[in-house]
């Protein structure tokens, strides 16, 4: 038994080295003073971090990514919160089907969704590319918003809502004064998870670029295909720090239980 345990813990250690090693290597190489990515780096320099701020495309696409993710998030909340509430609160025929429909965007391959949006939203409906980008990101955020909020509504006792209403509070008033405060942390967690999902998205965004419009991951992708200097490593480090910070907040808000649920 003991020996079995030791072998298993060694195996797990190797799995985690495989998982995290590359991320550590990319972080270390970002400090390379030369122009070619090397491991180990031949010195220590922050010049590639400076380069991020000097290449205007990175700053512009970073801003676009933030704006699209935040606006898309807002839209997904406006559409998703009422839907999650209805799906958790009411029992009606076809509820499971509707639930499946709302979660279906995760089932459609992202690259397929991106292409069909380009072909119909931009070319046939004639929407501007920015609108297509925003709509595409809203579509992929919607399932995350609905799933996380529905799971925090599961822990909410709707009897409290009924009690408030029987005392004369209106439906809308009860929602904002009783339901919403109780699922506040779930909503915040939903916003953060959806934000990361959208901010990192490539599959939709790769079809929604045009003159002067692109997102950070797409800009990074294009840059890597043309240059092989440590700039992307430096951006990666900044993104990983951002991810770790958001992850810390998500953990505080609702723990990691959401991730292990399928």
């Amino acid at each position: 038994m003991k020996e079995g345990n030791r072998a298993l813990s060694l195996y797990t250690l190797l799995v985690f080295i495989f998982l995290l090693g590359p991320l550590i290597i990319i972080s270390v190489t970002s400090f390379e003073p030369g122009t070619v990515l090397k491991f180990p780096p031949e010195g220590f320099s922050l010049k590639w971090y400076k380069n991020i701020f000097e290449v205007s495309a990175f700053m512009e696409t970073f801003k676009t990514s933030i704006v699209i993710s935040l606006l898309g998030n807002l839209l997904a909340l406006l559409l998703g919160v009422p839907a999650a509430y209805a799906l958790s609160r009411y029992r009606f025929r076809g509820r499971d089907t509707l639930n499946a429909i709302f979660l279906s965007p995760v089932l459609i391959p992202g690259i397929v969704l991106g292409f069909t949006l380009l072909r119909y939203l931009i070319v046939v409906y004639g929407l501007p590319i920015v609108a297509g980008l925003l709509i595409g990101h809203t579509v992929i955020m919607l399932p995350f918003i609905i799933r996380v909020i529905a799971s925090s509504l599961e822990n909410f006792d709707f009897a409290v809502e009924e009690a408030a209403q029987s005392l004369g509070a209106s439906r809308l008033y009860t929602f904002f004064k009783v339901v919403l405060p109780n699922i506040r942390s779930g909503i915040l967690a939903a916003i953060l998870i959806a934000f990361l999902e959208s901010f990192n998205n490539v599959d939709i965004s790769v079809f929604m670029t045009g003159p002067g419009i692109s997102t950070l991951p797409i800009q990074m992708l294009t840059y890597v295909q043309n240059y092989f200097d440590p700039t992307i490593a430096a951006i990666s480090v900044i993104l990983m720090v951002l991810t770790a910070a958001l992850m810390f907040v998500i953990e505080r808000l609702m723990g990691f239980a959401y991730f292990t649920k399928r």
Partner: protein, 273 residues
């Protein structure tokens, strides 16, 4: 009355998905059956008669199958170890699995370019130690894609399995042990069969994910194509939207068939789950 209220709350979201997902996809599917105003299967026949496309499809399937198997092989023991670890260790390892999952796929694929490249970590090590003379071609091959995809999806299968293992009734294992089963026998007869549905669900997620992933093959595959990068190439480089649509439909069909079959299988193994 209640139904009506629920409907009003659901309607905005449903209309949005109908307009921006259902309609574009339905129109795309419909467009593949029409050519010069006539109903035809020519779009599909053209593809399956074409050796080039069949090779791409085969590469994609092969890469996805291997990725799924390797993820299962690496993920299952790790998840088992995490599920049995002390509370402190468990939360640390869970956090370390979730972190890569939330990290950009561009970042994660790029890290493998540093490792697998001609002047990358592995090649410089092998050349410097004199084990090989000329650097190996690992980057821009299906092998590189597989490594990148395993790295991409391993956290997903670990946390999926962990969810199933956490719900496992440990009293059953204890009962088996008290009846004289060895730890290995208890694992083989109780733990493993009860966690197989989780392995299947995790496997579907990895398989479908690998089948449709774009970023990793685009960065690590070089000229080597899989269906997703081939779709992109047809749509954006060759401007052949008819071909891109056919590939899109083929991808949707494969995804739905795989998910459907595996769901039936998982349900049969665990009717209560």
């Amino acid at each position: 009355m209640k139904n009506k209220r629920a409907m009003y709350l659901l309607l905005p979201g449903l209309l949005f998905l109908a307009a921006f997902m259902l309609v574009p996809i339905t129109l795309t599917i419909a467009s593949t059956f029409v050519q010069d105003g006539k109903l035809t299967l020519e779009g599909y026949l053209h593809f399956f008669r074409d050796g080039y496309f069949n090779r791409i499809l085969l590469t994609t399937l092969r890469v996805s199958v291997v990725t799924t198997l390797v993820c299962m092989l690496l993920g299952y023991p790790a998840a088992y170890y995490i599920s049995r670890a002390s509370a402190r260790k468990k939360s640390l390892l869970l956090a370390l699995s979730i972190f890569p999952l939330l990290t950009s796929p561009v970042v994660r694929s790029f890290s493998w370019m540093i490792i697998l490249g001609k002047k990358g970590l592995i090649n410089s090590f092998l050349v410097n130690t004199g084990l090989i003379e000329k650097p190996l071609d690992i980057l821009y091959t299906p092998t590189a894609m597989m490594i990148g995809l395993v790295h991409l999806f391993l956290p997903l299968i670990i946390i999926t399995l962990l969810g199933v293992m956490e719900n496992l009734d440990h009293e059953l294992v204890r009962a088996a042990r008290s009846l004289g089963a060895s730890p290995f026998a208890a694992f083989r007869k109780i733990t493993f069969p009860l966690t197989v549905p989780g392995l299947i669900i995790g496997g579907i997620l990895v398989f479908v994910g690998s089948l449709t992933a774009y970023t990793t093959p685009a960065l690590l595959g070089g000229k080597e194509r899989v269906v997703s990068t081939f779709l992109y190439q047809n749509a954006m480089t060759l401007n052949d939207w008819q071909a891109a649509s056919v590939i899109a439909v083929i991808m949707i069909v494969i995804t739905f068939v795989v998910v459907g079959l595996m769901n039936v299988w998982a349900n049969r193994l665990n009717p209560k789950g």
